[in-house]
C-alpha cells in the first residue's frame, strides 16, 4: 500500500465513522446507552458535590457589563401583558400541588420574606457565561411555609411564556429546591427584574445551566413524578430537543 492510499483510507474511514455515529444514535438501544451518560454524570456529581456546597459568588466588580437576555424576551400573551401594564401589582405566585397549604403570594409578600442577594455566574448550555447580582426569597423558605407533603419529589415551574403554544416549564428535585442559593429572584443588579430577564420572578438554581433558570414564573407545583407533565422529561427543552434534565455539567 502506498502512503497516499493509506492516508485516503484514513480520511474516508474517519468520515465513515462520523456518519456511523449518527446512525448509531438513532438505534433505540444505542440511544439508551448514549443517554445513560446523564445518570452517570448526575450520580457522580451528586456523590462529589456536598448537598449544601455553594456555587462560587463573585465581587461586585466581577459582574458582566451587560447581562444578556436569552430565550423569550417578552412573553407577550394577553394575561402577561395585562400584568406587566399594571407593573405586576396584580401578580400572584401560586404554590400548589403536593403541599399542605397552597400559597398565593404577591410581590410585596415575596419582598417582606427574608432575602438572599448573591452575585453568581449564569452559564448557558451554548457556552457563554455572564455574572450578575440576584435578589429574592429562598425557595426553601417558601416551601417550608407551604409544607411539603412526604410524597413530593420534584418542583415544577410553569411560566408565562409560550413555546409552540405551550407554557415553558422546568423542574428541579428537592436537593436543589432546598439549596441555600436557590432563590426566586425579583431583582437583577439592584433593579427590578427587567421583562427581558424574566419579570416579575425567575428561578436561580446556581449549580445548573441557564435553561433550568425558569423565567416569568406563574406557578410552582410540588409533584411526585414528572411523568404526564409535558412529554414527561421534566422541562420544555428536555422534551423538545433532549437536553439533559440534570444540567450540572
Amino acid at each position: 500500500m502506498s502512503p497516499i492510499l493509506d492516508r485516503r483510507t484514513l480520511v474516508l474511514g474517519a468520515a465513515g465513522l462520523l456518519a456511523g455515529c449518527d446512525r448509531i444514535a438513532k438505534v433505540p438501544a444505542a440511544r439508551k446507552i448514549l443517554f445513560s451518560g446523564e445518570a452517570m454524570n448526575m450520580g457522580l456529581q451528586r456523590a462529589l458535590i456536598n448537598r449544601d456546597a455553594l456555587a462560587p459568588e463573585f465581587a461586585s466588580t466581577d459582574r458582566s457589563r451587560i447581562f444578556r437576555s436569552n430565550g423569550t424576551s417578552n412573553p407577550n400573551t394577553p394575561d402577561y401583558d395585562a400584568l406587566a401594564a399594571g407593573r405586576f401589582a396584580e401578580y400572584r405566585l401560586q404554590i400548589g400541588g403536593l403541599v399542605a397549604r397552597p400559597l398565593s403570594l404577591s410581590l410585596p409578600n415575596l419582598r417582606t420574606l427574608p432575602q438572599r442577594a448573591q452575585i453568581t455566574r449564569h452559564d448557558c448550555v451554548e457556552g457563554w457565561s455572564a455574572i450578575a447580582k440576584w435578589q429574592g426569597p429562598r425557595l426553601g423558605d417558601l416551601l417550608k411555609l407551604a409544607g411539603m407533603r412526604d410524597d413530593a419529589r420534584y418542583l415544577v415551574f410553569t411560566c408565562f411564556d409560550l413555546f409552540s403554544g405551550a407554557n415553558y416549564y422546568e423542574s428541579i428535585d428537592l436537593i436543589d429546591a432546598f439549596h441555600p442559593q436557590t432563590i426566586l429572584a425579583w431583582a437583577l443588579n439592584d433593579a427590578l427584574l427587567p421583562v427581558a430577564n424574566g419579570a416579575p420572578l425567575r428561578l436561580r438554581v446556581e449549580r445548573q445551566l441557564g435553561y433550568k433558570q425558569a423565567k416569568y414564573i406563574a406557578r410552582i407545583d410540588a409533584v411526585a413524578s414528572l411523568a404526564g407533565i409535558g412529554k414527561g422529561k421534566g422541562g420544555y427543552w428536555e422534551d423538545v430537543v433532549d437536553y439533559d434534565w440534570y444540567a450540572g455539567i
Binding site: 468520515a15 465513522l17 444514535a25 448514549l34 443517554f35 451518560g37 455566574r121 455574572i131 449549580r207 455539567i249
Partner: protein, 235 residues
C-alpha cells in the same frame, strides 16, 4: 502468535487497550466538541464572556463532516461528549495505574538526563529528518522526541482537557472551586479547552504521519498484537 524471528514484543495489553479506547474516545470527543463549539463560536478570557463581551478568537464554523452529529444538534453533541468524557477520564486513570504497576512509564517514558543534552536532541532531530526512528542498539525504545510527545499528551494535554472540561461544569465549580482559580475562570477554562484540543489534533496529525513513514503495517500490527518487527539495518 505472530512471533517471527526479528520481532520483539513492544506493547503490553494495557497499553494497546488504552490506545484503541482512546482513539475512539478522542475521535468522538473532537467531533461532538466541534458540534458544541458551533453553538457559541466565540472564545473569551476571564470569569465571564457573552455576546456583548470581547472575544479573543472567533473560531470558524465547524463543518458538518467534522461534527457529531452531522447536523447542528447541541443536545445530542452534548450527550456524546459528556458520556465519552467519562470514558476518557476513567480510561486514562486505569492506564496510569496499570502503567505504574507494569513499569511502562518508568521503563519506556522516563526521560533520562542524557537525552536532554543539546547534542543528543540535535542528533534526534537529524535522525527524524533522515526518517530513522529507531536506535539499532535499542530498537524497542522510543526515541527522545517521541517520548516528549507521548509524555506531553498523556501527562499534560489529556489531563488539561479533563481539568478544563470539569471547570466548565457549574456543579463541579461548587464542589471544587479551586478549579476556577487554577484556570482563571470558566471562560478561560473554555478557551484553554479549545487550545488543548487543537494541540491534540496537531499531535494526532504528526503521530499518524510518523506511523505512515515508519511503516504503517508494522506499526499497526504492534499496536494490535504487541509484536513489532525490527527494521533491518539501513532500511
Amino acid at each position: 502468535m505472530l512471533r517471527q524471528p526479528g520481532s520483539i514484543f513492544r506493547h503490553r495489553l494495557a497499553t494497546r487497550m488504552w490506545h484503541w479506547i482512546t482513539v475512539i474516545t478522542i475521535f468522538i470527543l473532537i467531533g461532538s466538541g466541534a458540534g458544541i463549539l458551533n453553538a457559541h463560536p466565540h472564545l473569551y478570557w476571564g470569569k465571564y464572556g457573552a455576546n456583548f463581551d470581547h472575544p479573543w478568537f472567533n473560531p470558524p464554523r465547524m463543518p458538518s463532516w467534522l461534527t457529531i452529529p452531522g447536523h447542528y444538534n447541541l443536545a445530542i453533541s452534548r450527550r456524546w461528549h459528556l458520556l465519552f468524557a467519562l470514558v476518557l477520564g476513567f480510561a486514562l486513570l486505569g492506564f496510569m495505574v496499570l502503567s505504574l504497576i507494569n513499569r511502562h512509564f518508568q521503563r519506556d517514558l522516563r526521560v533520562r538526563a542524557a537525552e536532554l543534552r543539546p547534542q543528543h536532541l540535535w542528533a534526534d532531530v537529524k535522525a527524524h529528518l533522515a526518517f530513522r526512528f529507531h536506535d539499532p542498539a535499542r530498537p524497542g525504545a522510543y526515541n527522545t522526541l517521541q517520548k516528549f510527545s507521548y509524555v506531553a499528551t498523556i501527562f499534560v494535554l489529556i489531563p488539561l482537557m479533563i481539568g478544563t472540561g470539569l471547570t466548565m461544569s457549574p456543579g463541579m465549580d461548587a464542589a471544587w472551586p479551586w478549579l476556577l482559580e487554577l484556570f482563571g475562570g470558566r471562560q478561560s477554562a473554555r478557551s484553554i479547552h479549545f487550545l488543548a484540543a487543537s494541540a491534540l489534533v496537531l499531535f494526532i496529525v504528526v503521530h499518524l504521519t510518523l506511523v505512515i513513514l515508519a511503516g504503517v503495517g508494522n506499526e499497526l500490527r504492534s499496536m494490535i498484537t504487541g509484536w513489532w518487527r525490527v527494521p533491518e539495518e539501513g532500511a
